[in-house]
Structure formats: structure tokens, C-alpha cells
């Protein structure tokens, strides 16, 4: 199983940041995307003014660790942001509601058993190499993703049970599954199942990873140097953007230039000195960084990334096999203090094992309250007695848990301190990112942590259904006691066969509750994508998955 990120933390939710005196405004001030934080409302009236065409947007990400730009293969958040502007998908997902809306497919039918999907396609779409987009292209793409096998670490889970695609007519195609896959419709909205031109699939996966492919998106790739730079140029004849964009035609900007700047200080410095227009860091901009960019006239946008919250994961084959210890750990975490200390006041506090923007999210904050007294009582009852120094032990065995981490981080120090309050000793084992993945996948930990971004709660099944995750493939193989695992597997089977979104959400509510109350996961933080934009940048939008969408963005002089 791949990890989007091996250690560090992530982001947080919408703040009501109002950047005084900054930026003017989003054009669509009446139909504001709630994920996009508006600038000063007073300044907002000035600019329903004309959108300026042209210009190059200079953007900086944190890093390009995997150096893979193939949407069907990669799982790195930043790469997926670039992919969103290079390739189109069959459907799109409304950032406000999570609803699936038409894009390359104009309408679709889902079989009641969730084993068959039929799509009607647009017939006016071309790939940037001139090839026409049709039913055969869809079949080639899905077969191509299937053929990637383990290389499509994410895609393989999105099309689990894929049996084949049948071309019914040039504009009608049916996708069949051998097992139900109710999450497939949302999957068609992701970059992961983005449709590349048929010719692209004759290239090797390695060549595609380096950018040797063609999509039908509003931009084309002009240069990709791994770990260094990405350049995109606009496609002038683009005319099939999905309805959630204000601009469904060719992009307003001419080009995008991406660089990678790992240090937050350098990143914000580059923005305030005008060397870049957009800073798009992996971890949320710190309070200090936000203050400094806002003082320079920039705006800070933020959105909660859907998918798994940053969860701490226990291994029940150790001290954490004792349910009382897991319950106590759940109560010992003070998530509100954690969010405001490690990030900033107003950072969203985790309320479930999935982030609040995931369509199937349910508020479980009542199960996640900070209750150190309750935690101590549970440990006392279970025989973990506090010694003179406050640390606990039972039959001479100290209550000491090893957390495997990919690098030092103040956030873990605070977790350690919070657990220490109730007498649980936490030992941080710092390892390299490669060792982190190995240790997490092989169960060599008491506690580990990971997250993943997807606009559908089915990501929980991918990570924590023990009929999917086997020992050696992910930490989800170790975090449940057998009876919890059986219960969850049954619920996951229901969820993946349920085509009614309302009923499916109800099943997910049960799943989230069980994961939390059984102590299979300890949510730590909602993840937030922040982006700081210079005063000249307008209408930069997030997708539902909080990736970069360039259709509407424009640069004023």
C-alpha cells in the first residue's frame, strides 16, 4: 500500500481568513465556492471588472518525491493537482455538495447491484494529439489501468472487481464488475481514472510516468523535469470543461510554471518577493507564515482535503491488544489543543476517521472528547497502576508504546506529552521514509499513522477492510481485533454494494463509529490544504479533493 506521505502532517479546514486589504476578488462573487476563501468583502465590489486573458502563473509545490506524472499511476497529492489540468474524467465532483456531475460523460446508469455502469459520452471532445475521444478511448483507458496492475497502486483499488468494458456505440460504453463497486462512480471523477488518449497506452508505464502521454484537458504538458519543474501550456480549442467551472472553455492564463521549494520560509519568501504567484505547501502554512504573506498583500486560501484524517493506527498484537488501553488512548488525546497548538487557532478539530469534506462524513465528536480522568480510571480498572513517577505498569510490564515516525515533528512531541498526562509512555522511533513504509506495512510498530486523499469514504475499505488489506500490505491488517474485523468486513461489503447514496452514507456512519469506539483508529487532525496567492491572482479554485483547478484562474496586470 502506498502512502501519500510518509510522515509529516497535513492540513486543516476553512478558516475564516479575511485578508485585509488584499486581493481583490473573485469574479464570481455571487456564486462563491465555499472552499475558496474570499478576500476582503469590501474590496470585492471593485472587480466584476473584465477578466484579463493571458499571462503565466508561477506556482511552487513542496516536493516531487516520486517523480511520477502519470495520473493512472501516481498517488502524490501535488502530481494529482497537475494531472487535474492535463486530463479530463468521465464525471466531475461538485466541491460544495460532493455530488457527481457530468463531464466527458453526459449521463450514466448504475445497475442496482453496483456491478455495471453505462455511460453516454460527449462527441465533441478531442485529445490534444487530435485523436477523437469516444467509447473505444474509454475502454482502452480502463483496460490500460487494469493492465498497470500494482503500478496503479491507487487505480487498482478504484476499479476493484473490474471485469471489462463493452463499447455499445461510439458514444455509449458499459463498464462491468465481477463484484459490486458502488464507489466506482466517484472514482470516475478522479484524476486517477483520468482518460488518456488511446495512443498513450502503447507507451511504457515508465515513459508515461515521465509525462509521455496525452490527455483532453485544458492544458498540455510542455516540459517535465522530475523533482525540478513542470510547465503547462493552455489548449486554445478546449471547450468541454465540466459545469462546476465558471469557464468551460479555454483557460484564461497562457501557461503554468511549477517549481519545488521544500522550505516553508523560502516558499513564502518567494511569494512575498514576487518570484512566484502561488505557494502550495504540503503542510498547512504556519500562523507565522500566514501573517507574513498576508502582510505582503497575498491571500491565503484553504480547504479540507477529503479522505482519511491523519489517523494514529494501533497494532493490537501488543500492549494495544488490551481494549482498555486503546480506549484510554482515545480519551487522552486533546485534539482541540493539538490543532490550535501545532497549527493555529481555528484549525479544524478532527471529528471522525474521515475528513469533514468527505461526502459520507459523520460527526463523531462525542466519541472523541478529551477525558483524561476517564482515561486514568479505565487504566486503573484494567490493572495498569501508576508508579511514583506517574508512568503506569501492569505485572512489571511498563505501559510504553512505540510510535514509528518518518522524522522529528513537534506534533508528535505534543501527542507524547498528552499521553504522558495519563501515564502512557510514548517512545518515538525515528526511521527513514523507506523504513517507515516497511515497518507500517509489516506490523513492526505499536502505533503508526497515515492519511490518504479521496472524495469518497470507500478509502476506508481500501485501508481498513481486512478482507482487502492482508498482513504485509498495510497497517490496516493489524489494527482490529478479530470480531471487530468481521463486523467491519460485513459493513464494507454492504457499503460497496449500496447504490443509494443516502443508505450508503448510513452504512458509513456505522463504520466510522465502530472504527472509533473499538479503538481501531485514533483520529488526530483534519487535513487542510492551504495555498497562498499573490494579489494579482484571481479565482484559483480547489477541486472537491482539494487539488488545483486552473479553468477559472486569471492574472491581473
Amino acid at each position: 500500500m502506498s502512502f501519500e506521505q510518509s510522515h509529516a502532517p497535513s492540513r486543516r479546514s476553512f478558516l475564516g481568513l479575511t485578508a485585509a486589504g488584499s486581493l481583490a476578488v473573485l469574479l464570481s462573487s455571487c456564486a462563491v465556492d465555499p472552499k475558496t476563501l474570499e478576500a476582503d468583502p469590501a474590496a470585492g465590489t471593485a472587480t466584476s471588472a473584465a477578466i484579463v486573458e493571458g499571462g503565466t502563473l508561477r506556482l511552487a509545490f513542496t516536493s516531487d518525491v516520486y517523480g511520477n506524472l502519470d495520473p493512472n499511476q501516481n498517488f502524490w497529492i501535488e502530481s494529482r493537482s497537475i494531472n487535474r489540468n492535463l486530463v479530463d474524467s468521465l464525471t466531475d465532483q461538485d466541491p460544495k455538495t460532493g455530488e457527481i456531475v457530468p463531464w466527458l460523460a453526459t449521463k450514466w446508469e448504475v445497475a442496482p447491484d453496483a456491478k455495471s455502469y453505462t455511460f453516454d459520452l460527449r462527441d465533441d471532445v478531442t485529445f490534444s494529439d487530435g485523436t477523437k475521444f469516444d467509447a473505444t478511448a474509454v475502454k482502452t483507458a480502463l483496460d490500460g489501468i487494469k493492465a498497470l496492475g500494482a503500478k496503479a497502486s491507487l487505480g487498482a483499488t478504484y476499479i476493484s472487481g473490474y471485469a471489462g468494458t463493452t463499447v455499445l456505440s461510439p458514444t455509449r460504453v458499459r463498464v462491468d464488475f465481477s463484484t459490486p463497486n458502488a464507489a466506482f462512480l466517484q472514482a470516475t471523477a478522479t484524476t486517477t481514472l483520468g482518460i488518456l488518449s488511446p495512443a498513450s497506452y502503447s507507451k511504457t508505464p515508465e515513459a508515461r510516468a515521465k509525462g509521455d502521454y496525452v490527455g483532453s484537458g485544458p492544458f498540455t504538458l510542455t516540459e517535465y523535469v522530475q523533482q525540478q519543474s513542470i510547465k503547462l501550456a493552455k489548449r486554445a480549442d478546449y471547450a468541454w470543461g465540466s459545469g462546476i467551472n465558471a469557464n468551460t472553455g479555454a483557460a484564461h492564463i497562457d501557461a503554468l510554471e511549477v517549481t519545488f521549494i521544500p522550505e516553508e520560509g523560502v516558499l513564502t519568501g518567494s511569494l512575498t518577493s514576487g518570484q512566484i504567484d502561488v505557494a502550495w505547501p504540503r503542510t498547512p502554512l504556519s500562523e507565522a507564515a500566514q501573517t507574513s504573506v498576508k502582510a505582503a498583500g497575498a491571500t491565503v486560501l484553504s480547504a479540507v482535503l477529503p479522505g482519511l484524517t491523519y489517523n494514529i493506527i494501533p497494532n493490537v498484537n501488543g500492549i494495544l491488544g488490551d481494549p482498555a488501553v486503546r480506549q484510554a488512548l482515545q480519551k487522552a488525546l486533546d485534539r482541540a489543543e493539538w490543532a490550535s497548538t501545532v497549527f493555529y487557532d481555528g484549525y479544524p478539530v478532527a471529528k471522525s476517521v474521515i475528513d469533514s469534506t468527505t461526502p459520507q462524513w459523520a460527526d463523531n465528536s462525542s466519541l472523541l472528547e478529551h477525558d483524561p480522568t476517564g482515561a486514568k480510571a479505565l487504566l486503573d480498572q484494567a490493572g495498569w497502576v501508576a508508579g511514583s513517577d506517574g508512568t503506569r505498569s501492569k505485572d512489571g510490564k511498563p505501559l510504553s508504546l512505540t510510535l514509528v515516525v518518518g522524522g522529528p515533528w513537534a506534533g508528535w512531541d505534543l501527542v507524547q506529552s498528552q499521553l504522558g498526562e495519563v501515564g502512557i509512555t510514548l517512545v518515538q522511533r525515528v526511521v527513514t521514509p523507506a523504513e517507515f513504509t516497511t515497518a507500517s506495512n509489516s506490523g513492526d510498530f505499536d502505533l503508526t499513522a497515515t492519511y490518504f486523499t479521496r472524495g469518497d469514504a470507500d478509502i476506508l475499505r481500501t485501508y481498513y477492510d481486512q478482507s482487502v488489506v492482508k498482513p504485509g500490505t498495510g497497517p490496516g491488517a493489524y489494527n482490529q481485533e478479530p470480531q471487530t474485523a468481521a463486523q467491519l468486513t460485513t459493513l464494507f461489503a454492504q457499503e460497496i454494494s449500496e447504490t443509494d447514496p443516502v443508505k450508503r452514507k448510513a452504512v458509513f456512519a456505522d463504520i466510522q463509529k465502530i472504527l472509533i469506539s473499538s479503538g481501531a483508529l485514533f483520529p488526530l487532525q483534519d487535513r487542510v490544504q492551504t495555498a497562498a496567492t499573490a494579489a494579482t491572482v484571481h479565482d484559483l479554485k480547489f477541486t472537491l479533493e482539494s487539488f488545483l483547478r486552473l479553468n477559472d484562474v486569471w492574472i491581473s496586470k
Binding site: S292, L414, S417
Partner: protein, 307 residues
């Protein structure tokens, strides 16, 4: 940040700077008295710079030995309400991003940094002395094999070597010390070997041999005591190098196991706040900088006075 200087460079630089220092000293104090230990000490104490440097080194050693004497505050205790406070009355060095007392962290970090430095030097001196002694004394193929080994180690950039060792051993203060120590060995081996080669041709060695002493007793009673003078000088000079090397590795994230922090990791964790809360990096950086400067000043002054 300076990384490890290659040992050959170190010895080279040492000799040239010493020559230069001699020239200045000679100009400043033409009537340099020849004298015994007592007058040398007196000369040293007449230099205010040396006194200050010695006091600072003693302070650093003191905080390393008994940090609790200097601060009663728990360096690991977060105070979320007091995060990122500037230096002031309650928190002398301010607080970090979790509201931990930076002064307490610097004081407790000194223990880790100084201990790692001493362990590193011990490894370098002992191993270097042993390799140099055997190599110089035995000569022949033993010398060839050992010195080619040392050459190979010298050929690898020292920071790279340290990183490789630490990746193999795992993270942690002790492992950082071992990595730095191993990287410093070749310098000591080279110096020792050169001294042994010089000493072993001297008449008193020959005399001892003709007097019937065994090779091992000659080695132990005559060669070794007359060899380690320059080694000790190099060791004192390399304390500064070792502190910088240990801090560099900690800065890169290989050092102290969190939540403990040594000076290097304190500098690293403050980087994010360099623009808005510069003291987080600058104060621990100052602690390192002053200690290295003081040690160098003391070592140089000792050298000048000794001549």
C-alpha cells in the same frame, strides 16, 4: 554550516595558522618569556579573551554535566498558551512552537551535544592512536594495508561517510557520535603514525632495545608517551570540528530522539520560524557558535604560549 574538514586539511591548516599566529604574537609581545608552567598559566590568565572563553567552555561543560542546576524547568513540557513567546523575564530564551521553554531545551540539549562530541573524540583518538601506532611501528605490509585503508576512508567526503554510517546504524545521539568519531579516525591515525616513525629512529629507542627491553615494552614505555603530544593537540583542536559535525547531523534530523533535542535539532526545528521568530534558531546557534569559538581560542592561545 561547516562540515567536517578533512583531517589532512586540518593538520595542514593547523600548522600554517600556527605559524601566522606565532608571527603576530611575536610582534605583539616581543619579550616572550621562556618559562615554566606557572608563568605560562599566568600569561594566559592575563588575556581577557582567554578568560572569557575558558569560562564559557566551563559553563557549557557544567550545563552538560548537571543541567538541572541551571534550570528547574522541564524542557519537554508544552505550554500551548505560551507558544512562540519572544525572550523575556519568564522565558529567558522565549518559547518554541509548542510553548516549551527554549532556555531549558538549550541547557538540556547541551548535555546531548557535549556527550556526543566527547564520545566521538574518544573513538577517534583511541582508534586513531591504535591504527597509527601499529602501522608506524610494524612498518612493512602491515603499514601498507592499514594506511591504504586510511586513504580509502580519507577519499570519501566525511559528511557522506557519516551519513552512510548513521543510515546503517539508525538514528540517535550515540550513533551520531559513532559516525562522527569514525570519520575523524584517519586524521589521528596519520598524525600518530608520523610521530611513531620519527620517534622510533631516535637513539633512546635503540638504547632501550640494546638494553634488552622487549618490543612491546619499548612501544608502551618509550614510543607511546613520546607520541601522543601532537595527538592531544589535534584532539583539542578537533573538539570544535566534532561539535559542528555532531550538530550538522542533528540538524539534518539524525540526532537526538524526539522529544529530546540537542543543539543541532533545535536549530533545525526553528528554521520554519526564522523570519517571524528568529530566536528559535539563533539562540541555540549562538550557543554552538560561541562554544566552538571559545574552544578554538583556548586551543590557539595554549599553542602560542607553549612555544
Amino acid at each position: 554550516m561547516t562540515t567536517l574538514t578533512s583531517p589532512t586539511q586540518t593538520s595542514h591548516t593547523t600548522s600554517t595558522t600556527t605559524a601566522a599566529a606565532d608571527a603576530t604574537t611575536a610582534a605583539a609581545e616581543p619579550a616572550l618569556l621562556p618559562g615554566g608552567r606557572r608563568s605560562r598559566r599566568a600569561q594566559l590568565l592575563r588575556r581577557p579573551g582567554v578568560v572569557v572563553a575558558v569560562l564559557y567552555v566551563l559553563l557549557a561543560l557544567g550545563t552538560a554535566a548537571v543541567p538541572g542546576l541551571y534550570t528547574g524547568v522541564d524542557p519537554q513540557q508544552p505550554h500551548p498558551a505560551d507558544k512562540l513567546l519572544p525572550p523575556g523575564g519568564q522565558y529567558w530564551f522565549g518559547t518554541d512552537e509548542l510553548g516549551r521553554d527554549l532556555f531549558a531545551r538549550v541547557v538540556h540539549g547541551s548535555a546531548l551535544t557535549v556527550q556526543a562530541t566527547l564520545v566521538a573524540l574518544a573513538i577517534a583518538v583511541v582508534a586513531g592512536l591504535l591504527v597509527g601506532l601499529v602501522s608506524g611501528f610494524c612498518g612493512g605490509w602491515v603499514d601498507v594495508v592499514l594506511m591504504r585503508g586510511v586513504d580509502v576512508v580519507l577519499a570519501i567526503p566525511t559528511l557522506l561517510l557519516s551519513l552512510t554510517i548513521i543510515t546503517a546504524l539508525g538514528f540517535g545521539t550515540v550513533n551520531v557520535a559513532i559516525a562522527v568519531g569514525v570519520a575523524l579516525v584517519p586524521g589521528f591515525a596519520r598524525i600518530t603514525r608520523a610521530e611513531v616513525l620519527r620517534v622510533k629512529t631516535l637513539p633512546y629507542i635503540e638504547a632501550a632495545r640494546s638494553g634488552g627491553a622487549t618490543w612491546t615494552s619499548v612501544l608502551r614505555r618509550h614510543v607511546l608517551p613520546n607520541t601522543w603530544g601532537p595527538v592531544v593537540v589535534l584532539a583539542v583542536l578537533d573538539v570544535g570540528t566534532a561539535i559542528l559535525a555532531v550538530s550538522s547531523l542533528s540538524f539534518l534530523g539524525f540526532g537526538a530522539q524526539p522529544p529530546h533535542a540537542d543543539w543541532g535539532s533545535l536549530i533545525a526545528s526553528g528554521r520554519t520560524y526564522l523570519v517571524t521568530n528568529p530566536w528559535l534558531s539563533l539562540l541555540p546557534g549562538l550557543a554552538v557558535g560561541l562554544l566552538v569559538l571559545s574552544l578554538n581560542h583556548v586551543a590557539k592561545s595554549l599553542e602560542e604560549v607553549a612555544r
